[in-house]
Symmetry: C2
Subunit: 420 residues, 2 copies
């Protein structure tokens, strides 16, 4: 057991929001209140940016209703940033702010860039003999953080996309149209985790179940083969549902969606991978009707269709981060560990931050079927537990009612700071 460390907590959120990043925040705040050695609980506005500019708010002052409401409120209640801390004066400043507000516990909820930042802050504090415990909390819809079995945020986006695909497929079947191709573009610039997740819409994991073709960034796009598969599906199913990850690349490793940027006529770039495929099918397959959907940011903010399992795990990560720090851990990220047994179970673990930073976990190649456009039963087994249960979101007047923090700002102690 380590010695008790008295002082204040600072928690911040970073990167692209998810539907459960606020659940992790709620976990941190709720657990922090359980420990006498923690004096104040501060939130940094807009991630590291607000820490640099000393924009801190008092989270202990927030009402219980608000902290409870964070459990189902999407996006990021504290705001996030994509500010990349690189300059040494930035790190000096962060430590100055920490000292000025007696921050002894720092929790950073984010993806791998954020974990890298947390790692560097932790190492600097050690170097300067400033006692600080730093714990990272994973979050990303992309599910591409290493070590952790999966990332909070991923299960919910898979649930939303699968639900949407299943509903759309019923519509396509009802209309009963011959030669109709429906293309849905989902997120995932570097890995196909999200696109792969759409396979959960399949009723029995059979090829004839929609979605019929899943295009992953992991498999170089071959237009001839794609058009062949579309035609085969049209023959068998009358319609063809295609899911495409936004990061689909050609054999040269270039994004297909960027293809028209090279267009010598100076046309604006295409609107994405789905739009590219729509044009391709329309131009190459006569008499085929094509519709493209682009779910965009809707998919990562759809709290109304988010996964209870994902939400619970995100909250659990927040709680585990505080427990670990209190127990003397530092410079670690919380991980989700799948327990080995017949039934799915999930516990938290810890891993050094240095092993997370700038690493990416690819979709295992063995989980992609030989056809390159569908997923194996191993993927189904992996993803199924992550989408279980429905988060209950309160509706008021017909639309969801979310919470916002009142965000009472802490008095600034330092001179203003110029962001780089």
């Amino acid at each position: 057991m380590s010695e008790e460390l008295s002082g204040n907590v600072l928690v911040a959120q970073s990167g692209g929001p998810t539907t459960v990043i606020n659940a992790s925040l709620a976990g941190v705040v709720t657990e922090a209140l359980n420990h006498g050695c923690i004096e104040e609980i501060y939130g940094g506005l807009n991630g590291i940016q607000g820490i640099l500019t000393e924009d801190l708010v008092d989270l202990a002052e927030e009402s219980q209703q608000v902290i409870r409401g964070l459990r189902y409120t999407p996006a990021a209640a504290l705001g996030t940033c994509r500010y990349k801390v690189k300059r040494s004066e930035d790190f000096d400043r962060i430590l100055e702010v920490f000292k000025a507000h007696n921050i002894r516990y720092f929790f950073y909820i984010g993806g791998n860039d954020s974990q890298d930042t947390a790692d560097q802050i932790s190492k600097l504090a050690q170097e300067r003999n400033y006692e600080l415990r730093v714990i990272g909390i994973p979050k990303t819809v992309d599910n591409d953080l290493p070590v952790t079995d999966h990332c909070p945020g991923y299960g919910s986006v898979v649930k939303y996309i699968s639900t949407t695909i299943k509903e759309m497929a019923l519509d396509h079947e009802a209309v009963g149209q011959h030669d109709f191709v429906s293309i849905v573009e989902v997120m995932g610039r570097n890995a196909g985790w999200i696109a792969a997740g759409a396979t959960m819409a399949k009723r029995r994991n059979q090829p004839e179940d929609p979605p019929h073709i899943i295009l992953l960034p992991e498999i170089a796009f071959d237009s001839e083969r794609f058009l062949y598969l579309v035609q085969e599906s049209l023959k068998k199913n009358r319609y063809c549902m295609v899911v495409v990850g936004e990061g689909l690349v050609d054999t040269d490793g270039n994004y297909v969606a960027a293809a028209s940027q090279a267009d010598s006529f100076g046309h604006a770039p295409l609107g994405g991978a789905a739009e590219y495929l729509r044009q391709l099918v329309e131009q190459r397959l006569g008499g085929v009707r094509v519709r493209a959907n682009k779910l965009g940011i809707a998919q990562r903010s759809a709290a109304h269709c988010s996964s209870q399992a994902d939400n619970d795990e995100a909250y659990m990560c927040g709680v585990a981060a505080v427990e670990a720090a209190i127990a003397g851990e530092s410079d670690k990220m919380v991980t989700l560990v799948r327990t080995e047994s017949e039934q799915y179970g999930c516990e938290t673990g810890l891993t050094p931050l240095s092993g997370i930073a700038n690493q990416v976990k690819p979709l295992p190649a063995t989980w992609i079927n030989e056809d390159g456009v569908s997923l194996s039963f191993q993927f189904h087994k992996y993803a199924s537990p992550l989408i279980q249960g429905e988060v209950e979101v309160p509706f008021e007047n017909g639309i969801p009612e979310f919470v916002t923090i009142s965000g009472n700002q802490i008095a600034k102690e330092l001179a203003p700071y110029q962001l780089g």
Copy 2:
């Protein structure tokens, strides 16, 4: 009171599906079972097309679970069609099929094309002295049928779109990005009812609430004014959320999305109004990041986020259609009638089919604010009751579980028929 008419019921669905067209079907079947004069309850597969080809199924044989499940199953359980009955031999055939199966009650759930077909069938039966009662049941997400206060299907699409916009806006605010424009394309080729509905996402109907700009097909698109409004919104709100109806037209009345079809380089047409606007903003406003979403068919099939009020009314229309026919009415469409009082109430009425066919109800001009990109409180008052309540959809293994009819086909009595 009219004389009791003994015979069989035929019900069919037509046009683009909605999340509640099956609720109307459930209403017809459930109410039909209450009346002794009704002998059999048949469903026509794929709308009028299946009636022509004598593809009828026995709906009384379906389990209670399935009929109950239709209340929350999107799309159209019987299938729909867009087959336009025009030829006189088609009408002759329909009557032949009706006679062969002793159909005395015909219920057609659909938009104005379908009501036109129903009207013609009704008139032909009268002319030929075949006793038949024909009642149309309204359905369309477009909300553009005349006479009826609103159309089953509309409230649910508004609920889904408003929910999505509200969730996306939280994401945009959390990221806190300057100069970010988010464009969401929604359905509505001829009228702005759906795009207008996105205003329900506004918390207090204030201009600074997202969506900031609603582009309606009713207002000719002026790109200079649009770019000005985007810039104003960016100044005030840091980001700008635009909702655009797919049917946005320029001052010449041409779809903006079709603009590039005139492109002399032979490029494929643009992917829609949102994509058009995305390119416009990117080309004209420097340093602005733009993202486009196209919800497409997802919006009309999103049972997981559908309106209980809408669903109840759709069911009620099915019940009312049977009651009216039993009472001797024919050649009418069921309407929804808003009761005049402080609190919203809704009853059903009847209107001649001939007054529905090929008529379109425009969004009242007085409900569009002078700025042309926002809606008045009258619209809010109109739409608010239609999105109340959340339909509970059962989930199994993390995704919605819907029903399908087993569809036991009735033996064919006639020779095959060649569709025109």
